[in-house]
Subunit: 272 residues, 3 copies
Amino acid sequence: MLKDRLTNVRNKCPLIQNITNYVTVNDCANILLACGGSPVMADDINEVEDFAKVCDGLNINIGTMGIAVPSMFAAGKKHNEYGHPVVLDPVGAGASQLRTDVCNKLLQEVKFTAIRGNISEIKTLVNGVGKTQGVDASVEDTVTMDNLDNAVAFAKAFAKKTGAVIAITGAIDIVADSKKAYCIFNGDPFMSKVTGTGCQLSALVAAYVTANPDEPLEATAAAVCAMGLCGEIAKKRMTSMDGNVSYRGYIIDAMCNLTAEQLEEGAKYEIR
Amino acid sequence: MLKDRLTNVRNKCPLIQNITNYVTVNDCANILLACGGSPVMADDINEVEDFAKVCDGLNINIGTMGIAVPSMFAAGKKHNEYGHPVVLDPVGAGASQLRTDVCNKLLQEVKFTAIRGNISEIKTLVNGVGKTQGVDASVEDTVTMDNLDNAVAFAKAFAKKTGAVIAITGAIDIVADSKKAYCIFNGDPFMSKVTGTGCQLSALVAAYVTANPDEPLEATAAAVCAMGLCGEIAKKRMTSMDGNVSYRGYIIDAMCNLTAEQLEEGAKYEIR
Amino acid sequence: MLKDRLTNVRNKCPLIQNITNYVTVNDCANILLACGGSPVMADDINEVEDFAKVCDGLNINIGTMGIAVPSMFAAGKKHNEYGHPVVLDPVGAGASQLRTDVCNKLLQEVKFTAIRGNISEIKTLVNGVGKTQGVDASVEDTVTMDNLDNAVAFAKAFAKKTGAVIAITGAIDIVADSKKAYCIFNGDPFMSKVTGTGCQLSALVAAYVTANPDEPLEATAAAVCAMGLCGEIAKKRMTSMDGNVSYRGYIIDAMCNLTAEQLEEGAKYEIR
């Protein structure tokens, strides 16, 4: 039951270490607080291992690189040692060689519980090269009802290869392990007008898989449904004067108020 | 027509690379999305050139320096090679020797399409030294109706020297090339109580000049009018309990909803 | 009178340099503007001393470390030379060895006007080691009415040792110099659901002690009361759809509108 995944986050208050970009870091921290988790943003190479000890899970987001890259590896390995869940958000993989290379190396050296990206980013991880447009998916890669079965098979194959739950998000979201996939229809197109809704979702996934260690697939699906559902709730709240920044706040507000029952009833998905 | 400048941004959705400060980066990303553009914030020296290839224009903002300084030069030169528009926001030039030096060197090595700053920052670029107070203009430098002709001549001269459109923003804004200046009277004094409205405007200018490559002067003027107009629209929306943070959101919301007709009708300027 | 502390901030508009984390930096800048001060976020080691000259006070926040650490020392010493107030926010001291070490060294090399942290962070500074949970206080450390006298004595002793005003914030706040302590009961538990309310408060303290150089104790107490009071005002403004992000904005909005009379009337404290 998806609702149990949410309830566990609220009850356990997982402490999530984030090595993430400076663009959306504040929103990531606030959505972790909103969902019932607690954020730590420590990314200095000289302390990531200390924080790995006190935290319950890790979210690696490559949105901005710089000096945080070595910390991604050090933190990832340390959380692996402790058996903590680790999430990867390969922001912009395929758009620069550096990002593609860092992701390839992370996949070799760190074991991930879940990997969340858009279709172009995930294709880059699979193929080792990609054509991501900046930080958005290429139009030609878009997942539609027509190519959904192919995309599901693709996600399951990558899940099998990596051992991670694969979350490919877009107009239709796919959350898959090697055997089972949730095809999720929550969300609103206007979410793409807010910077960092993907980053926020990855932080949320980290909280959900950490609070539900035995149910990584369902936990990831619950997080993806929750984010989309909050996008829908927030959209209904908008007035004619509201734009993308008010919408950003309304989404996180909705996450703050989201109940287990709302999630269970509002989640729109099918299993393939 | 200013409105055509806005329409081009919405239709072309220019992808703007930003090498900018960590203080206001999220607002810069959101205003780019709001205006119809798309943001990339990649600033790692090992990938700025890759992103220059996929992006359509560049916004360099020196609000915080650190390891991003070499990336400013590398990205600027690469976008120049590709013939992309490049915008400079010389935040705090004149307040530290480092900022003044970096700006002087950027002006030597990178060709800018537009440069936007307050009067003290622009005076620093012209004179090589300055007396900027932190990141705000010195009171003694303020542009008023009394010294407007002098300020216009000053802006035109600097435009002639650099080949860039010069945007000097404050209570009265001046946007000039070597021959023609827009004196713009949009805006609201309360905008100075929101951190980063200047940074946001520079990102907006980058989107506008990129989507209007043959009209850099009018495009910059349109962006400056749009920002001021959104400040006015947002001010009208404020309730007695609202303060600077709600105002910040309302400004970007207004940009999200701004129509070509609103801009054409609401722009207040004269040509000198 | 607390209200004179606020009035001085509004009248003097202190320019505060901040060397702070990239998570909450935008909110820190906006709350400084809201309270009547002016923010500078320059943290490059090559310019911190230049900014020390033009700024009136300094706020050091160790929320994220990285390349800013040497700048904390350089800026702290330079502001000390100029006789400017310097505030320390020891975020997460006790949670990593690096943070504990940096704080210990800062206490040796820089003279602080005020130090603001949660009880676990301050205990770490006193004892040289600690058990801070991420960036939150340990439950076992919590200040309650039952152990308040002990906590006050502890704060006064540390104030005596350091010469700084000590602000220990939590459900009950203590602001003490070596002889006198304000026990402050303003605030709302929901403030802990917003990332960075502590960071914001430290920035606010910097503005208050800088605008009130002869009254550091009362100025710090006024800032702490003001923050808590704004948390209360903001809470009353919330609707059923609002969550932590709207609340974040409402708090800073309230600071923007806070009057000297509101502060004087709304402050809830006793002297011990």
